[in-house]
């Protein structure tokens, strides 16, 4: 069943990238521009008309957000994942809330967690999980959660943390060798 979906893609989007394929599972990656028509095609002609999830992967080192739509075909019990990369700086992704009502909830959460705006989502900006959050959107890779937690919430008593590896090394004087190589810069 899944190969019907697969050659559906081969015809319309020849330069798609296959990420993973199993007998009832297909994950394809298309470029940013043709993401929307891929989804619409999946819904109308390929029978994948149930939106299960919109997910975001923050690939900070390539400077992209990879948005993944997970669509399911209840009749044939197959799962189709469509992913597309969007630029990380003030990222705009077209909204699907007109087609699926559940999409507006996913998009609200992604806006709150990643700062990706979905023009066309009527309820964007409403508080979803966090209340009056002023810092950078927390799920972005450049937001340090432990440092934030220690600064805002603190801890009862600081850890008295001794690393056994360095402790044993210092006792036997591992690093005061004739060459006097220091542990820090030679690591």
């Amino acid at each position: 069943m899944i190969d019907k979906v697969k050659n559906g893609f081969e015809i319309r989007f020849p330069l798609y990238k296959l990420v993973r394929e199993q007998h009832n599972y297909l994950h394809v990656k298309v470029d940013m521009v043709s993401a929307m028509d891929a989804i619409v095609m999946a819904k109308t002609s390929l029978g994948h008309n149930v939106l299960q999830l919109i997910s975001t992967v923050d690939r900070i080192e390539d400077g992209v957000f990879q948005i993944t739509w997970i669509l399911e075909n209840y009749g044939a019990c197959t799962v189709l994942l469509i992913s597309a990369d969007f630029p990380r700086e003030n990222c705009l992704v077209p909204s699907l809330s007109q087609i699926w009502p559940a999409a507006s909830a996913f998009e609200r959460e992604i806006f709150e967690m990643y700062g990706i705006s979905f023009p066309g989502n009527p309820r964007e900006g409403e508080d979803f999980l966090l209340e009056s959050w002023k810092d950078t959107p927390p799920m972005r890779r450049d937001f340090e959660t432990e440092e934030y937690a220690m600064r805002v919430f603190g801890e009862r008593q600081p850890r008295e943390h001794i690393d056994p590896r360095q402790y044993v090394g210092d006792i036997v004087g591992e690093w005061n060798t004739p060459m006097g190589r220091k542990r820090k810069e030679e690591k």
């Binding site: 001794i162 044993v168 591992e174």
Partner: protein, 589 residues
């Protein structure tokens, strides 16, 4: 709406007559199940403070802290885990990865308090009501295998094939085998205190695991200038204390050192800038003996800017460790690769100079400091009646002059006396030369000082092991010699230590043979030291007594290696060289 629907809920009242499910808790205790994940206990004697529980704990609930009454020792970091019940989530990951299985859960679960600051405690040290509970979630390593895993198996020649020739027995790791083996290391650092030279073992294992072999070689040379030799014949004290060895097999640290060195054709250009002579400081040092100890001292002294001259009796460097060990364990051609590094480091070698009184007095005047690393030359005699017969030869001399190139021993019967590495080498060399070999050793097999991998491999090679045999005498017969011995039984030693072998009965067992090699160990002859020096130094049983920086007490004379009392293996000799370098630098400052 059916009539029964109105009545049937009232049938619930029938429940009132039945037995109640309540567990009246405080009056009737409800202990946790046998596997319940309750509060921590830790057997501080079994715990080696390796810190695995701290690294695996995702809530940073465990800290390794010093505990008074427990001090660092060889194979024990002296730290013990403190558990913070303001962070712990009772997931038992720390229990399943504990190397020695000392950390465990009890099945008690009730601890209420008003003061939140008392929620941190050291299991096993602070007294808690649940300290001696038997039940609770305990480690089960043979199901999970997290605490200790088996070693990557290296390709080893089959016994039948390897006794025909002298090629290397152990073939070494492939690249991904080595990286997987090195990735098994948990970076606990206990091996550093066990290794006499305190090498940076966790760091170079991490480097190998990540494929950075150049960094690994550089880390070797920081405190061991003969890594390839140590990679093949070291006595592996680090592997005896490896945390992975308690429930699985220890990391193959020795083979990984060898693997990293074998990745490069020439170690000299890998080290490049690291192995250049330091800018000269005008001082000259003489090193007597080009064995591991002499070479290690020479290498670091020349890199510190000293002008180093090395004197050695043999034609090539490497010393006894290199030439006494046969080809199948340590191929001789490997030495040139190691010596290149010393030449690049600016060490000047003078070969073929026998050590005599004149040489020492000459060195005393010409050099600012002298480092005696002469090692042991004379094989000690076996003190058995009849050992002066010509067919009884010391194994040490036999091994020293390249037996693999010598004449074949096919059809001959050889007896080897002794249980150390030299005995193993002699026995296995004779097997390769075609002889059938009997090995006689006074104590049990597990008492043998030889490397246990060596003993295991030797046993596979058609050698007739005869432990617990006390030699009586050797007689000459027409066809060769006859060796007579008693069977022994082990009697435990009144002064403690290894049990002593005593003859079980006075039955004399006899074995006929053509040649007998005695491998009882070596002693030193100190005639080459002039009397004036001998008075200045402290000598005991032919060994020079030195302080912790290898200083003999006589002028600027230092000594190290087998000539000084100690373990007597290559890595201790290298460590002596390191300490001597530090001593020389301080003394000549």
């Amino acid at each position: 709406m059916k009539f029964t629907d109105v009545i049937s809920p009232f049938l619930a009242w029938s429940r009132a007559a039945k037995k109640v499910d309540t567990i009246p808790y405080p009056n009737q205790q409800n202990p946790g199940a046998d596997r319940y994940r309750g509060f921590h206990i830790n057997d501080t004697s079994k715990c080696i403070g390796c810190g695995r529980c701290e690294t695996i704990c995702e809530n940073k609930a465990i800290d390794m802290v010093k505990v008074e009454g427990v001090d660092p020792a060889k194979g024990d970091s002296g730290l013990r885990p403190v558990v913070d019940y303001g962070r712990c989530c009772w997931c038992a990951l720390c229990i399943d990865v504990c190397s020695t299985g000392s950390l465990a859960f009890t099945n008690s679960y009730s601890w209420v308090t008003e003061n939140p600051d008392t929620c941190r405690y050291t299991p096993g040290v602070d007294q808690k009501p649940w300290d001696n509970q038997e039940k609770g979630f305990r480690q089960n390593n043979d199901v999970l295998g997290w605490a200790g895993s088996p070693r990557e198996q290296m390709e080893i020649e089959t016994p039948e094939k390897r006794i025909e020739n002298f090629d290397e027995v152990v073939k070494g790791y492939t690249i991904d085998q080595a990286m997987e083996e090195a990735a098994r290391c948990i970076q606990c650092g206990l091996c550093i205190s066990a290794c006499p030279a305190h090498m940076h073992i966790p760091d170079y294992l991490k480097a190998i695991a990540e494929g950075r072999f150049v960094d690994a070689v550089k880390l070797f040379y920081d405190n061991n200038p003969l890594p390839e030799m140590c990679g093949k014949v070291c006595t592996r004290q680090c592997e005896t204390v490896c945390a992975m060895g308690y429930q699985g097999e220890s990391i193959a640290i020795r083979w990984l050192k060898r693997f990293a060195c074998e990745q490069f054709e020439s170690l000299a250009d890998v080290l490049a800038l690291d192995a250049q002579p330091g800018e000269p400081n005008g001082k000259k040092v003489a090193v007597v003996g080009a064995g591991p100890s002499g070479l290690s001292a020479a290498y670091y002294l020349s890199r510190k800017g000293y002008e180093v001259h090395v004197y050695d009796r043999l034609e090539k460097g490497g010393g006894v460790s290199w030439y006494a060990i046969p080809e199948y364990r340590l191929p001789a051609d490997g030495i040139s690769k190691q010596m290149e590094v010393f030449e690049q480091a600016g060490v000047i070698f003078n070969y073929g100079k026998d050590v005599t009184k004149e040489l020492l007095t000459d060195l005393e005047n010409r050099f600012d400091a002298v480092y005696l690393a002469v090692g042991l030359q004379k094989p000690s005699d076996a003190r058995i009646e009849g050992e002066d017969i010509s067919e009884v030869k010391p194994a040490f001399d036999f091994l020293m002059n390249a037996p693999d190139k010598g004449q074949k021993l096919t059809g001959k019967k050889v007896i080897v006396i002794g249980g150390g590495n030299v005995a193993m080498d002699a026995a296995r060399t004779c097997v390769r030369l075609g002889a059938d070999v009997v090995l006689s050793y006074r104590r049990r097999i597990e008492d043998m000082p030889a490397d246990d991998e060596e003993i295991h491999e030797a046993m596979e090679e058609t050698i007739d092991f005869r432990p617990k045999t006390i030699p009586i005498r050797i007689e000459r017969t027409e066809s060769g010699i006859r060796y007579l011995y008693h069977e022994a039984k082990m009697v435990d030693n009144p002064k403690g230590g290894r049990p002593l072998p005593k003859p079980k009965d006075d039955v004399e067992h006899a074995v006929d043979a053509d040649i007998l090699f005695s491998a009882i160990g070596q002693t030193s002859d100190i005639e080459f030291i002039p009397e004036s020096m001998q008075k200045g130094m402290k000598l005991k049983w032919g060994r020079i007594i030195v302080n912790e920086s290898q200083y003999t007490g006589y002028k600027n004379f230092f000594a190290g290696g087998d000539i000084t009392p100690g373990e007597g293996d290559a890595i201790t000799a290298i460590a002596d060289g390191l300490r001597a370098v530090q001593g020389i630098i301080d003394r000549l400052r």
